[in-house]
């Protein structure tokens, strides 16, 4: 039963860590826009395909555009 004296503070510490993560996320403006990121995730798989045009442009301009 004496375990409680350790378990409770540990539980609170774990909770505190989660809370700290939340505060960091909030201060990082991650709750500012809740609409766009979910959509961005859907678009990710399409972006690869549209690289074709970028490549062509890259060749014609002699410039590497593979950083995205």
């Amino acid at each position: 039963m004496e375990l409680v004296f350790v378990a409770l503070p540990v539980a609170l510490l774990v909770g505190g860590a989660a809370l700290a993560a939340f505060v960091w996320a909030a201060r990082d403006d991650q709750f500012e826009d809740l609409d766009t990121p979910p959509r961005r995730a859907i678009f990710d798989d399409v972006e690869v395909r549209s690289g074709r045009a970028a490549e062509q442009r890259g060749k014609s301009e002699g410039k590497s555009l593979d950083t995205h």
Binding site: M1, V4, F5, L8, A11, L12, G15, A18, L19, F22, V23, A26, R27, D29, F31, E32, D33, L34, D35, T36, R39, R40, I42, F43, V46, E47, R49, S50, G51, R52, A53, A54, Q56, R57, E61, K63, L65, H68
Partner: protein, 902 residues
């Protein structure tokens, strides 16, 4: 004599005209061009834009340009993306706008200095407002920008707020070039008016979210500790454990009150200093009393504590406050959004002495094309920021663009579309020297104005100021749950104290303490705190599924009792679009009129083309194979002459066709048959404007032009009146027209008001003699101040974007039935809240009495506590409903249109 066309061309029955082309766009999208829809936006292609032989048709130059730009960049996938998005939401069906502006003001050194920053990698970053976002595909398109424009490092879109963050390499590309690229795709970038205010607002929002999250975490931990504490009390827990749990509980409560709850204490202190009563005073008192008593009891090792209740209350109250704060933030943000009404850039005409740069902006915006002036001096057009305009400046406004400042028209008389400012649906003719207001759109031809006032002094800016004030000044209503919970903590503290004081001498300290603890546990504010939010969340969720977007529980509360319903005519009751309502006369004359009007951008001309233009082509197709082109050719108008304020005349084939007002016909001494005269008189009585078509000097057709009522308007209005609402019409349109609409709807004359300016609408909503609540329904920019000031502002979809931000409620579907749905839903949700509150108060009272009598021990109380919450949850999810009680399905497609039937 009346020879109406079959209904599909321009029948006023409403739905099918609207839904037809849209439905086609939904189904086909990319390939819709085949059946006459714009290849970019999917809207129907007006005959004037039709190009024979081209597989891709566009509704306007903007869409054509954007389509071209997309293909050039290899971004055709945009259309695919959009099709996917269309399945999720509507709203992609909007023609693209390409302004072709230079955006040089974004390269201004002062702007770069004030609003951009450079990070370690040498990338310059800026945050700008963006116009033209429609759906998720736009996000994809814009964020693909770094791969098509050299020098652009990153583009991040915040679609919720219409903000884009751009990082670019200044050595490789200028910001104006990026802005032009955005413009070519149909998105316009605007700098923020006050970037610091935006940053402050964001910081405040962040603080609220942190506060709420912390309070929630503490409250849940405090509840967990409390369970252990109360559970242990019954099973003879060792004193050491009890003290340990108590200290943990006290520590958590102190943390809750001192960190997230501090805002209540500071508010209360401020309220006491200012000697103004405030909700936060009893709240702060309750919190301090609960925590203080907890500390004292724990230090003395006697008694019990109520700390978890305090922590829970901090959380629940913060949630409520955050909702309120969110609304105020929107009220402030919309002012920024509204600035889009007035262009941020003006084309200033500078008379430059030969060779010298002129008097413009430090030579920064000198890209304008030089051109020969009328006199000796050379004229240059220079793009300058709107607030750099000064009184006396000469400004050119391109056709179909908005005026950047208030001033005086110095060129020939022109037509202006004032619908943004005044709600007047018909264009207004302004003579040379007449006043022109910022935000008014010039139609047909470019105009020049001499600036009188610019920036914050214009009528539009003052209107926006009114909107902001009205939104912020609206007294926040004290929600029912707030009122109840404000007195909750003090009450249970007193009740527990009374329990101890009463029982101590009678049954001894231990038993008295157990009863007090049982009372505190059993009266935990869980159920009470959950009662309202649960019902509200359930109500809002059910509403959203039915196309009624409610922005807060207090809105439902306010709209739950019948009061005064103020309706705007344009766009709310009517379709908000000028159309040919009815007509009489020969088909060939009408087709000729359409051919003539094709050459005009006037809304009335558009209405005629929409109604009869397509008709002419179909006629040709039906009459002989391959004749469509031939008919088009025959109906080609030549020698078009537009006479502002009168009408238009042209030659169609060998015939001289005139289309215009009665005055125009009189001036050209056209012969008007009696039947046509009578028809025109009938139109006027019904609130429609008659338009005459004469062929070779003889009137052969009359078209009644107007803004048709929505098909469901009349039946909805009468049902609402039966439900106890006083329905009032407040329109910016001509009083005679407003009266006609009121008559068609069955609204009494004293409740029909026309010709109201935005300021008058605001005053109207704030009038004292209306039964509260005042629910304002509208959609135009001219309704914004009134929407913000009304007890409940309701925006109808398809209205001005800004109205959605101001309003408390957005109706996603067209027509008034969603409005009725909202009112019904508000009533039933409020009913659910009341039932919930009653259940939880009853539960607490009964539990309190039982605990006082010693019939409930702390453990049973701890088991009962979540049970009450569960009861409330079940009730909340079951009760609210946005179903209409009875639907009269018998309504035919055109029957509801009161005006049609006289």
């Amino acid at each position: 004599m009346e020879q109406p066309f079959p209904p599909q061309a321009g029948a006023p029955s409403g739905d099918e005209v609207f839904e037809g082309p849209k439905g086609a766009g939904d189904a086909e999208g990319v390939h819709a061009a085949l059946d006459g829809a714009c290849a970019h936006c999917g809207l129907p292609v007006p005959p004037v834009e039709r190009r024979s032989g081209d597989p891709l048709q566009f509704c306007c130059g903007g869409c054509r340009a954007v389509h071209g730009a997309l293909h050039e960049c290899g971004l055709e996938q945009y259309y695919e993306m959009r099709e996917r998005e269309r399945a999720i939401e509507e709203g992609a069906d909007e023609p693209a706008l390409v302004t072709g502006r230079g955006f040089e003001h974004l390269d201004d050194a002062r702007f770069i200095e004030a609003q951009t920053s450079v990070d370690q990698a040498g990338v310059r970053r800026v945050e700008l407002r963006i116009d033209g976002l429609r759906c998720g595909a736009c996000i994809w398109l814009l964020e693909a920008m770094p791969r098509i424009v050299r020098g652009v490092v990153s583009v991040r879109v915040d679609s919720a707020r219409g903000i884009v963050r751009i990082g670019w390499d200044e050595r490789a590309v200028q910001l104006s070039a990026i802005a032009r690229r955005f413009d070519a795709l149909g998105y316009q970038l605007h700098p923020f008016g006050d970037p610091e205010a935006v940053a402050r607002e964001r910081a405040a929002n962040r603080a609220w979210i942190v506060r709420m999250g912390v309070a929630g975490a503490i409250a849940s931990n405090a509840m967990a500790v409390a369970f252990a504490l109360y559970g242990g009390l019954l099973s003879d827990m060792a004193v050491s454990f009890r003290l340990f749990f108590q200290w943990c509980s006290v520590a958590l409560a102190v943390l809750a009150v001192a960190w997230p709850g501090r805002i209540f204490l500071t508010n209360a202190v401020a309220a006491l200093r200012a000697r103004t009563p405030h909700m936060d005073v009893p709240v702060a008192f309750g919190l301090v009393a609960a925590v203080g008593a907890g500390i004292v009891a724990t230090v003395q090792g006697t008694g019990s504590i109520y700390c978890e209740s305090a922590a829970m209350l901090v959380f629940l109250l913060l949630v409520g406050r955050y909702v309120q704060y969110g609304r105020q933030r929107r009220a402030r943000e919309q002012v920024e959004l509204l600035l889009a009404i007035v262009p941020s850039v003006a084309r200033k005409v500078v008379r430059a002495v030969d060779g010298v740069g002129g008097t413009g902006m430090d030579g920064t915006g000198m890209s304008g094309e030089a051109r020969e002036g009328t006199g000796m001096s050379r004229e240059r057009i220079v793009e300058v920021a709107m607030d750099a305009l000064e009184a006396g400046d000469l400004v050119e406004i391109p056709a179909n663009e908005a005026c950047p400042a208030d001033g005086r028209l110095v060129t020939e008389s022109a037509h202006f579309d004032l619908s943004h400012l005044t709600g007047e649906s018909q264009p207004v003719r302004v003579e040379r020297g007449g006043p022109v207001y910022a935000g008014a759109r010039v139609l047909e031809s470019p105009a020049r104005i001499e600036v009188a006032v610019a920036g914050g002094e214009t009528r539009a800016a003052r209107l926006l100021e009114l909107v902001r004030e009205a939104g912020e000044r609206r007294a926040p209503i004290v929600e029912l749950a707030d009122r109840v919970s404000a007195f909750f903590l003090p009450t249970i503290v007193v009740a527990a104290a009374v329990t101890i004081a009463w029982w101590w001498p009678r049954v001894g300290a231990d038993e008295a303490m157990a009863r007090a603890v049982a009372m505190l546990v059993v009266t935990c504010p869980c159920a009470l705190g959950l009662a309202t939010p649960l019902a509200v969340v359930a109500g809002i969720g059910k509403g959203a599924r039915r196309g009624v977007l409610v922005k807060g529980g207090d809105v439902l509360e306010r709209a739950s009792k019948p009061g005064t319903l103020v309706l705007d005519k344009t766009g709310t009751l009517t379709e908000g679009r000028t159309r040919a309502i009815r007509w009489t006369g020969s088909e060939s004359a009408l087709a000729a009129a359409a051919a003539v009007e094709m050459h005009s951008a006037h809304p009335i001309a558009r209405a005629v083309v929409d109604a009869f233009g397509g008709r002419a082509a179909e006629d040709g197709a039906a009459s002989a194979a391959g004749a469509a082109g031939a008919v088009q050719e025959i109906l080609e108008a030549r020698d078009v002459r537009e006479l502002p304020g009168l009408g238009i005349e042209a030659r169609v084939g060998k015939r001289l066709v005139r289309v215009g007002s009665a005055r125009f016909m009189r001036e050209r001494s056209a012969i008007v048959a009696e039947a046509f005269g009578a028809f025109a008189e009938g139109c006027k009585v019904a609130g429609l404007a008659p338009l005459f078509v004469s062929v070779d000097g003889r009137v052969e057709a009359v078209v009644a032009i107007g803004d048709p009522l929505r098909p469901d308007a009349r039946s909805t209005v009468s049902r609402l009146r039966r439900a106890g609402w006083r329905v009032v019409l407040a329109s910016g349109d001509d009083p005679v027209v407003a009266m006609g609409v009121a008559k068609a709807l069955g609204i009494e004359g004293r409740d029909a008001h026309g010709g109201l300016s935005p300021e008058e609408k605001l005053a109207f909503v704030q009038r004292g003699d209306f039964a509260r609540p005042v629910v304002m329904v509208g959609d135009g920019v001219n309704d914004l101040a009134a929407l913000a000031a009304a007890d409940v502002g309701v925006a109808v979809r398809n209205g001005a974007q800004a109205s959605h931000h101001v309003a408390d409620v957005c109706l996603a579907a067209r027509g008034l039935r969603p409005l009725e749905r909202f009112l019904v839903g508000a009533r039933s949700t409020m009913g659910a809240i009341k039932v919930n509150l009653a259940v939880s108060v009853l539960y607490n009272a009964a539990g309190g009495v039982l605990a006082f009598a010693g019939l409930v021990n702390p453990l049973v109380a701890a088991v009962l506590m979540p049970l009450s919450g569960l009861t409330v949850l079940v009730l909340a999810l079951r009760l609210p409903s946005f179903e209409l009680p009875e639907m009269d399905h018998a309504r035919g497609p055109g029957r509801g249109d009161g005006r049609e039937n006289g």
